[in-house]
C-alpha cells in the first residue's frame, strides 16, 4: 500500500502546437528517465503521419522516476493521449487510466475548442486538472486573458495555474511537484479482485496483440488465466511489462501500474478498447466503468485506381484492420469504379489517416467515394434498416422516415467573424444553441448539426472564413429525423452510382446543378452529345449538355501509314477499355477522381 502513494498517473491535454511534445521532453529530461535521443527515435518510428499532422493517434505511455527534494521517489506514468474527436472514445479510455491531467494552454493563443472538449471529458471522469499556461515568455503572451478563459470557460481557479515555458524549462519543477501534491494516488485499488483496464492496443507481428493497460486493483503476471469481461473471452497472459519508454518485461504488474500485456489473442479486432481484464479463478463482479462498443460513424467506398490492384488493396485493408479495430471493411462493387471496399471509420480524420496509410504504406493508388454517414431508415412496411451507401437507399415510395446522426459542435472564433460563421452554420443546417463570449474578441458557439454536413468542407470553410483563427470540435449526438433524398447523377440517362449521394431536400437541387456543371467540365467530349442530369427520385432537377467532339482525324493515311495507324487506333481502343463505359459514354477513371476530389 505504501507503494500506491508513490504512484501518479497523468496525461497532458493540449491543442495542437500548444507545446505538448516539448513539455513531455522536459519532464523526461528532468526525471532523467531516458536519454532523449532514444525517446525521439522511438517516437519517430511510431508513425510518420502522427508527426506530420501534429496529432496523436495511438497512446504513447511512458514511466518516469521522480525524486523530490526530500529524497522521496515517485513513479509517474505519463500517457500521451490521442487528441482528436474521431478518437474521443479512445481518448476517454486513456484519460480513464489516469487520475489527473496537465491542461496545457498557449499563453498567446488561448483555449481552443479541442482543449475544451478534452478538459470536459477529464472533468466528467472526476480527474484532477492542473492548468499550465505555457509560452509565458512570448512577447504576445496575455496571461490575464488566459486566466480569465480558464475561469469562464472551464471554471478552473486561475490562481492554481502554473506559469511555464517548456522551451526554456521554466515551471518544470513546479509542475513535477504539483503532480505529486495535487494528483491523487491511484484510485479503486481496494476493490477485492483484480481489474485491469485496456486503454489501447497495437499489433505486433511477433507477439500478436500488445495491450496497453492500467492495473486498478490486484495484480497480473505471466501465466495468469484471465477473462475479458465485455464478452467473457478467456485467455492466458504471455508477458507483462512497463514502458521505460521501450517495452520492458516485468515479473508482475501491480495495482496502480501502467504497462502492457500480451495474451494469446492474435487479432486486434478481438481486443476491445475499454475492456476490463480480471482473473478467471477469482473474477471481479463489475467491469470498470465507461466501456462502449466502438462503431464506425462515417463510411466511404475505397477503390483501386488500377482495377488490377484489387487483390493488393484487399491484403492492405486486412493488414490495416489488424492494427486498427475501429476500421471496418466489406467488399462492394460499383458500376463506375469496379471492385472495392465499403469502409467504416470513426470520423473524417480517421478516414483520411486510413486512406493516406493505404497510399503510403502499401503504395496503392486509390480513390475514395463521398463519405456517408449511417442513416436509419424506417420503411413503409415498418422494417428498419441502416444505410451507409447511398446506392442502397430504398425507393422514396417505400420510405416512411429517414433519421440522420447529429453532432454537438463547439466552435471558437474571433467575434469579428460572427456573421460569416452564422451564415456557414445556417447553410450547414445547424441549430445554434448557445453563444458565449470568451473575452473581448473571442466567442464560443455550440450548435447541434447533422454529421453529414461536416463531412465535406466544413472545417476548411470555417478556417478560411476566420482566417485560420476558428477552431472546431464535436461530440456525437443523437439521431434526428430529416427530409433527406437521394441525388443521382445520370450520364445519357444512365445512373453513375459513384456520384450518388444522400442530401437534404432543400440542397439537392443546388448540389445537383453544381455536380452537373463540374462533370461537363471534366468529361471528355464524345462522338455524341451527352446529357448530364441530376435527379431526385427519378425527377430531373438539373441538366447540362456536353457537346459532341468536333474533330478527331489525321490527314495522311496511305499504304505506308496503315500499320502505324492501326497501332495507334488499337492503342486508343485499349485506352478506352480502361475507361468506364456508362451506356454509350466512356468515362476515364481520371474524371471520377477529379469530380470526387473537387467535391471533397
Amino acid at each position: 500500500m505504501s507503494q500506491l502513494s508513490r504512484i501518479r498517473n497523468f496525461c497532458i491535454i493540449a491543442h495542437i502546437d500548444h507545446g505538448k511534445t516539448t513539455l513531455s521532453d522536459r519532464l523526461l529530461e528532468a526525471t532523467q528517465t531516458v536519454e532523449l535521443r532514444e525517446m525521439k527515435a522511438q517516437l519517430l518510428d511510431a508513425m510518420d503521419l502522427e508527426r506530420e499532422r501534429g496529432i496523436t493517434i495511438k497512446s504513447h505511455p511512458v514511466t518516469l522516476k521522480y525524486v523530490n527534494d526530500k529524497g522521496e521517489a515517485y513513479i509517474f506514468n505519463l500517457i500521451d493521449t490521442p487528441g482528436h474527436v474521431d478518437f474521443s472514445y479512445e481518448v476517454s479510455r486513456s484519460l480513464a487510466a489516469c487520475e489527473g491531467a496537465l491542461l496545457l494552454v498557449d499563453a498567446a493563443q488561448g483555449i481552443e475548442a479541442q482543449t475544451v472538449a478534452n478538459a470536459n471529458l477529464a472533468m466528467a471522469l472526476n480527474m484532477e486538472i492542473i492548468p499550465v499556461i505555457n509560452k509565458v515568455d512570448l512577447p504576445s503572451a496575455d496571461v490575464p486573458k488566459i486566466q480569465g478563459q480558464l475561469e469562464d470557460i472551464l471554471a478552473l481557479p486561475a490562481e492554481d495555474a502554473i506559469m511555464a515555458s517548456a522551451k526554456v524549462g521554466k515551471g518544470i519543477p513546479e509542475i513535477l511537484e504539483a503532480i505529486v501534491q495535487r494528483i491523487p494516488k491511484p484510485r479503486w485499488a481496494d476493490y477485492g479482485h483484480t481489474r485491469v483496464l485496456i486503454f489501447d492496443c497495437v499489433y505486433d507481428a511477433y507477439k500478436g496483440v500488445i495491450c496497453y493497460v492500467r492495473v486498478f486493483s490486484g495484480n497480473i503476471k505471466r501465466g495468469d488465466k484471465v477473462v475479458m469481461m465485455s464478452d467473457g473471452t478467456q485467455t492466458e497472459i504471455k508477458e507483462v511489462g512497463i514502458f521505460s519508454p521501450r517495452q520492458k518485461p516485468q515479473d508482475e504488474l501491480f495495482e496502480g501500474c501502467v504497462g502492457y500485456l500480451v495474451t494469446n489473442i492474435k487479432e486486434v479486432a478481438d481486443i476491445k478498447i475499454g475492456d476490463t481484464i480480471t482473473h478467471a479463478e477469482s473474477p471481479a463482479e463489475k467491469m470498470l466503468p465507461g466501456y462502449q462498443e466502438v462503431r464506425p460513424m462515417v463510411y466511404a467506398g475505397i477503390y483501386p485506381i488500377d482495377t488490377s490492384d484489387y487483390e493488393k488493396l484487399k491484403a492492405s485493408v486486412a493488414k490495416l484492420r489488424l492494427n486498427d479495430a475501429a476500421f471496418t471493411y466489406a467488399s462492394e462493387s460499383s458500376v463506375a469504379l469496379g471492385f472495392g471496399f465499403r469502409c467504416g471509420f470513426l470520423g473524417l480524420l480517421h478516414m483520411e489517416i486510413v486512406v493516406e496509410r493505404i497510399r503510403r504504406e502499401y503504395d496503392l493508388d486509390i480513390i475514395s467515394t463521398y463519405p456517408s454517414v449511417v442513416y436509419h431508415v424506417i420503411k413503409s412496411d415498418g422494417e428498419k434498416m441502416e444505410v451507409q451507401n447511398p446506392a442502397y437507399l430504398p425507393d422514396p415510395s417505400e420510405i416512411e422516415a429517414i433519421y440522420e446522426p447529429t453532432i454537438k459542435a463547439t466552435i471558437h472564433f474571433p467575434s469579428a467573424h460572427m456573421g460569416d460563421v452564422m451564415a456557414l452554420l445556417m447553410e450547414k443546417r445547424a441549430m445554434i444553441e448557445d453563444t458565449e463570449t470568451l473575452d473581448a474578441d473571442r466567442v464560443m458557439m455550440t450548435a447541434t448539426m447533422p454529421l453529414n454536413e461536416i463531412l465535406i468542407d466544413f472545417n476548411d470553410r470555417l478556417k478560411s472564413i476566420t482566417k485560420g483563427y476558428g477552431s472546431f470540435d464535436y461530440d456525437f449526438a443523437d439521431y434526428q429525423e430529416a427530409s433527406l433524398v437521394k441525388l443521382d447523377i445520370l450520364v445519357n440517362s444512365d445512373i453513375v452510382d459513384a456520384f450518388s449521394s444522400i442530401v437534404h431536400r432543400d440542397k439537392a437541387e443546388a448540389r445537383g446543378r453544381q455536380l452537373c456543371e463540374k462533370l461537363k467540365d471534366i468529361l471528355p467530349r464524345q462522338l455524341f452529345k451527352v446529357a448530364i442530369q441530376a435527379a431526385i427520385g427519378g425527377k430531373v432537377v438539373a441538366r447540362e449538355t456536353l457537346g459532341a467532339m468536333r474533330k478527331d482525324v489525321t490527314a495522311k493515311c496511305y499504304g505506308g501509314d496503315i500499320t502505324r495507324k492501326k497501332k495507334l487506333l488499337e492503342k486508343q481502343k485499349e485506352g478506352k477499355k480502361r475507361m468506364k463505359q456508362i451506356g454509350k459514354v466512356a468515362i476515364p477513371q481520371e474524371a471520377f477522381i477529379d469530380i470526387l476530389k473537387t467535391s471533397n
Binding site: R550, D552, G560, L569
Partner: protein, 385 residues
C-alpha cells in the same frame, strides 16, 4: 482464313517504290530519307534491281507509285535506270504511274525521261504559295520555283498533276489558307492533296513545339481549316473523295484507292510498306540494312502483320470510310467472306442517328461531321468488332 479470303478475291495490284533521298530534311517530315551521295545512289539503284528480281511480279500491276524521300532528286539517267528496272519486272505497263517531285528538282530532262518511261502522274509537294509559311516549314523552294516547275511539267505533256498543300501551319490564318487553296486552283491541277500539319516526333517542328518556339492550333480551329478546304475545292470542281484528297472527276489516285480498299500492293526500297499474299510488312528503314537483306536474299522486313479475313474486313471499314463514297457492306462481306458483326451494324445505326453517317442500300459513308471524326469512329469500329 487467309486461303478463303484469297479464293474469293483477286484484287488489283499496286507497286510502291521508295526513293529515300532528300536534299535536306523538311521541318515537318518524318519519312525515312538519306542525303544523296553518289556511291549511295549507285548502291541503292543496284539494290532495287536486285530486289525486283528477288520478288518476281507474277500478275499485272495496275498502278506504280514512286514516293520518297524525293524521287525527283535523282538525275535523269538514274531515273531512267530505275524506271527500266521496274518496267523490266512488270508483265505489262501499268495504267497509272505516279512520281513525287519537289518543285526545286523539276527539270526538263528528267521530265522527258519520265514521259518516255510511261510515268503519267506527277505529284508535287508545293505545301504553300506563301514564302513566309514555306520558310516556317523549312522547305527549300520559293513560290516562283513552283510556277516554273508547273510550266515545265505542262510543257512536257503531263496531264495529271497533283499538288500537295499543308494547312494549320503556325501563324497561318484561315484566310491565308483559303488564299493558298485558290492559288493552287489557279494552277488548274487535276488533283489536290491537303494535309493538316502534324507535329511528328523527332522532326524539327516537333522539337520547336516542345521548346515552346512554335504553337499548335486548337482542335476546333483545325476543323475549320479542314472544312474550308472541303467547301472551296468542292465548289471549284475538285470534290473531296478522301479525307485529304480532291480530284476532278476521273482523276482520283487509283493507287491510293487500291490501298484504302485493302487490295494488294508490292513494296520496294527501304522503308516501303507492302500488303500481299495475306501479309503486310515494311522494309527496313535503313539503306544498309535493306541492302544487306537484298544482297543476302533474306529481305529485311519489319512490322510483319499476318492478315485474316476479319482483320481485312476491319481495315477495309476503317480505311474505306475515310473515302467520301464510303464502303459497300455487302461487297466487303462477300470479298472477305466474313459477316459483319451485329455490334458494328448497331454502331452504324447510332452513327446514322447522330448524323455522322449515311446509309443507302448496302453502302455506308460518313457525313462531313463524321469525316472530321474518322479516327474516333475507327476506334469505335475496332471496339465493336
Amino acid at each position: 482464313m487467309n486461303l478463303q479470303a484469297k479464293a474469293v478475291h483477286t484484287p488489283p495490284l499496286g507497286l510502291y517504290l521508295h526513293v529515300p533521298f532528300c536534299a535536306r530534311a523538311c521541318d515537318f517530315c518524318n519519312f525515312y530519307q538519306e542525303a544523296p551521295r553518289r556511291a549511295e545512289l549507285d548502291r541503292y539503284l543496284a539494290g532495287i534491281e536486285r530486289e525486283l528480281q528477288l520478288r518476281p511480279i507474277e500478275r499485272p500491276v495496275d498502278t506504280v507509285f514512286w514516293g520518297g524521300g524525293t524521287p525527283s532528286l535523282l538525275a535523269a539517267k538514274d531515273l531512267e535506270r530505275l524506271g527500266n528496272a521496274v518496267l523490266g519486272a512488270l508483265p505489262q505497263a501499268p495504267e497509272e504511274w505516279t512520281i513525287e517531285m519537289a518543285p526545286s528538282t523539276v527539270k526538263a530532262d528528267k521530265l522527258a525521261v519520265l514521259r518516255e518511261l510511261g510515268v503519267n502522274r506527277i505529284s508535287m509537294g508545293v505545301q504553300s504559295f506563301d514564302p513566309v509559311l514555306l520558310d516556317r516549314l523549312g522547305r527549300s523552294h520559293l513560290p516562283k520555283q513552283v510556277y516554273h516547275a508547273i510550266d515545265l511539267i505542262r510543257a512536257a505533256g503531263f496531264e495529271n498533276l497533283n499538288l500537295d498543300l499543308i494547312f494549320a501551319v503556325p501563324g497561318q490564318t484561315l484566310e491565308a489558307w483559303e488564299a493558298d487553296l485558290r492559288e493552287a486552283l489557279r494552277q488548274e491541277p487535276q488533283h489536290l492533296s491537303t494535309y493538316c500539319l502534324t507535329f511528328e516526333e523527332d522532326t524539327a517542328l516537333w522539337v520547336k513545339l516542345q521548346k515552346g518556339q512554335t504553337t499548335k492550333l486548337s482542335i476546333e480551329d483545325e476543323s475549320d481549316y479542314y472544312t474550308r478546304a472541303w467547301e472551296v475545292l468542292g465548289e471549284a470542281g475538285l470534290p473531296q473523295y478522301e479525307i485529304s484528297n480532291f480530284a476532278r472527276p476521273g482523276f482520283a489516285c487509283r493507287h491510293n484507292l487500291n490501298t484504302w480498299a485493302m487490295h494488294e500492293w508490292l513494296a520496294y526500297g527501304p522503308s516501303a510498306s507492302g500488303q500481299f499474299g495475306g501479309r503486310r510488312w515494311t522494309n527496313a528503314a535503313n539503306i544498309d540494312q535493306w541492302l544487306e537483306g537484298v544482297e543476302s536474299g533474306q529481305m529485311a522486313e519489319q512490322e510483319i502483320v499476318l492478315l485474316t479475313a476479319e482483320s481485312m474486313l476491319a481495315d477495309a471499314l476503317v480505311f474505306g470510310l475515310r473515302m467520301n463514297a464510303g464502303v459497300d457492306l455487302e461487297e466487303l462481306q462477300g470479298c472477305f467472306g466474313v459477316p459483319l458483326p451485329s455490334t458494328v451494324a448497331g454502331l452504324f445505326r447510332d452513327l446514322v442517328e447522330e448524323g455522322l453517317m449515311v446509309q443507302e442500300g448496302p453502302r455506308v459513308a460518313l457525313t462531313l461531321e463524321g469525316r472530321l471524326l474518322a479516327d474516333r469512329i475507327a476506334t469505335a469500329i475496332l471496339e465493336a468488332l
